[in-house]
């Protein structure tokens, strides 16, 4: 693994020639706790280690997200297959451990927990998700595949890219604007994924801090319990401190 210096911003897609990120496989493996796909930049930081310091209601809520996987109750089985693939591609979850994004979305839709507004030219959010499943299949068929779930990775990515750019046409997409569909479904996906403590581990987010609060917010400062980026550390000293045997 080549050492990377995150003071530089060369890893960021906007600054790379192909606008694509480097493979996350080059990042360290998570050693403490879980991150989605087990890579991240804070390998020894597990926000759940701090749960004893959170207030009771916050702790109950956040731990439930990790411990209870909501069953699929809103979507039908075929819808769940199509949309599960879709959610994993939108969040680049290509292998376990995965944050169960679709299950979290399903739970909200099943409970009727909506966001308080509906675009005038869009159906209800619940209907939007169902029609998305139909529309993904329709778009995949335009590329010659039988349906979205059975299409190759390239076709799946092209369909999602067209959805994000508002460039899908035909069938469902003549009645439901793709750009607003993307807004509705991406909002639900992101708020599920980044509400999960595994995602907080991956990004080094300090997490809930009530009642103890935060006290150190100068440049490069962090609380004693916040995670250090892996690349700040001397690997030899670190291995010795943690008592890890060389291989």
């Amino acid at each position: 693994m080549a050492a990377r210096d995150f003071r530089s911003a060369e890893h960021l897609p906007n600054l790379r020639p192909d606008r694509e990120p480097a493979s996350p496989e080059e990042l360290p493996r998570q050693r403490n706790g879980v991150t989605p796909q087990m890579h991240g930049r804070y390998p020894d930081y597990n926000v759940l280690d701090e749960a004893d310091h959170w207030d009771e209601v916050t702790r109950r809520l956040v731990l439930e997200r990790v411990e209870k996987m909501p069953p699929i109750r809103f979507f039908t089985q075929p819808e769940a297959v199509t949309l599960g693939i879709f959610c994993d591609l939108v969040m680049a979850q290509d292998r376990e451990p995965k944050i169960p994004v679709l299950n979290m979305v399903d739970a909200k839709l099943f409970a009727g927990e909506l966001d308080g507004f509906r675009y005038a030219d869009m159906p209800d959010d619940r209907e939007t998700w169902r029609r998305l499943a139909v529309g993904l299949d329709a778009a995949a068929r335009q590329h010659g595949a039988g349906d979205f779930a059975g299409a190759g990775h390239d076709i799946q990515m092209r369909v999602i890219d067209a959805l994000a750019k508002g460039e899908l046409h035909g069938e469902v997409w003549d009645e439901m604007p793709p750009s607003k569909t993307w807004k509705v479904v991406s909002r639900a996906i992101l708020s599920s994924f980044y509400s999960h403590p595994w995602a907080w581990n991956e990004i080094g987010y300090g997490g809930p801090a009530y009642p103890r609060g935060y006290a150190r917010f100068g440049i490069g400062q962090r609380e004693s319990w916040e995670g250090a980026p892996a690349f700040e550390r001397d690997p030899v000293e670190d291995t010795e401190r943690r008592g890890v045997q060389g291989t």
Binding site: P13, G116, Y119, S195, F217, I219
Partner: protein
Amino acid sequence: MSRRHELRTLLRGAVRPPENDSAFLLDVHRRAVPTERMARYDDSFSVDLVIVGAGAGGGTLAQRLARRGWKVVVLESGPFWDPDEDWVSDEAGSHRLYWTDKRITGGSDPVELGKNNSGHGVGGSMVHYAGYCPRFHPSDFEVRTRDGVGEDWPISYYDLKPHYERLELELPVAGDYWPWGDPHRYPHTAHPVNSGADVARAGARKLGIDMRVGPVGITNGAFGNRPHCIYRGYCLQGCKVNAKASPLVTHLPDAIEHGAEIRADCMVTRVEIDDSSGRVTGVRYIHDGVERFQHAEAVAVAGYSIETPRLLLNSTSRRFPHGLANNNDQVGRCVMVQGAPQVAGRFPDEMRMYKAPPPEICSEQFYETDERRGFARGFSIQTVGPLPIEHAQHVLGHGHWGAALREYMRDYNHWYTLGILSELLPLPENRVTVAADETDQNGIPVARMDYSQCENDRKNIAFAKQTICDIFEAAGAQDLLVTDRYAHLVGGCRMGSDPDRSVVDSDHRTWEVPNLFIADGSVMPTQGSANPALTIMALSSRLAERLELKRTGGPATRRRPRRLRRGSGPAPTAVDAG
């Protein structure tokens, strides 16, 4: 240094607000507002004033009038929050704080509602506002005269100034000396800021842009029984600490102490009118699935820019077939939002922008019209401090998803975010209406908001966005992410001096119904580029003063019943000494 200045420095943060003991009525050991001694009025007792909505407008009005001996009932559609039990340090878990009933958003530039701008429950949207409490500028009240756009207010900045000053003591507001608009200082010193704010401010300074700390309605130091801010960063999720100001902690404890009843979980569905006299008689509301009717001598609607027009439009009668006080077809018009694009900048050091309150530094240097910019009016610049979900929306808004989104999010700790509030102009076709064929869970037609920008709006937003990009470039940002959004809501039932072009007069009284008032942000004819909370409160504070001067036009001999049930009894009792 003058003696006066020394004294002020010595007393800074120690001056108790006059005529408002809210901070001292809170409990030291729990965050919930004590309600054990709250008055309970019977529905059949005609109270002096029923207020619909317990937010910035309704909460302040209730406190002011209760202090003056009025019998006030506040009906709030949402719950009476207990911050200890109901609120969490969590973005997704704060869903209940927002107005999540069905609404429709349309127009060519539709506005996201819900979490973005709509509150629910006692305290209203101020429960989840960032905490910024700037005043409007004197120019805001006369933009038609000065700049030839928008509308002049029927009142001036100087009508509100004493109320701004009083409220800044009550919230209390913390911040640097404020050189913009009508220059003033704040009762609490500025909060510390995090590293990102320092870096952004240095960048701004290079461009000759002055950014200052505050003004935020967050205690700096203990204030009564409200503790010091602990900088946990969850201002937008409800302050579990009670450090951030909202009417829940700044005005309602005092209102309750002076005999106001805050009746939560009561969805008002109609304001009733006596068709023969043309006066309102009270409001219909649903509590626990049962419809009830609260009699009142006067009604003040404080449901904010969407629910206030919706309630009036749904309150049709023989005299008002198109909605209450809407025979001039003005209700719901000129609803406004502020253009609020955000730019995030990437820096070599860790910024960890989730620490410290999201509202940190601010500039109003671009607030006024500058003809060289090519558009009328201006914008302000503020920090935002998005938590992970909000920042992920920002990254996606720039156009990244999949592996690129994940990569940007892994980089979260290196980013800092600035936002804009662009003054967008009031346009009559931007309007709240009711959707006849769509109803909520109570069978009441829902609101539809149509919003489209004009050319001036687009120019303002584009210029403002470029300005914050320039600030980040000057600060040495390595990469930028830009996203568009809106913030805040005002207008919809504006005040004016012409009955044909406004809904209420300068005393918030509807032109068409003598004992119906509107006491929220919907009365604003223009919005400046300031966050509206403090001005909504100041308007209500002034309204209370005006009402006390004129009374409500009610009967000459006012009933003065003794208030029963200031005890801990179980059920409401008829209170009518009439």
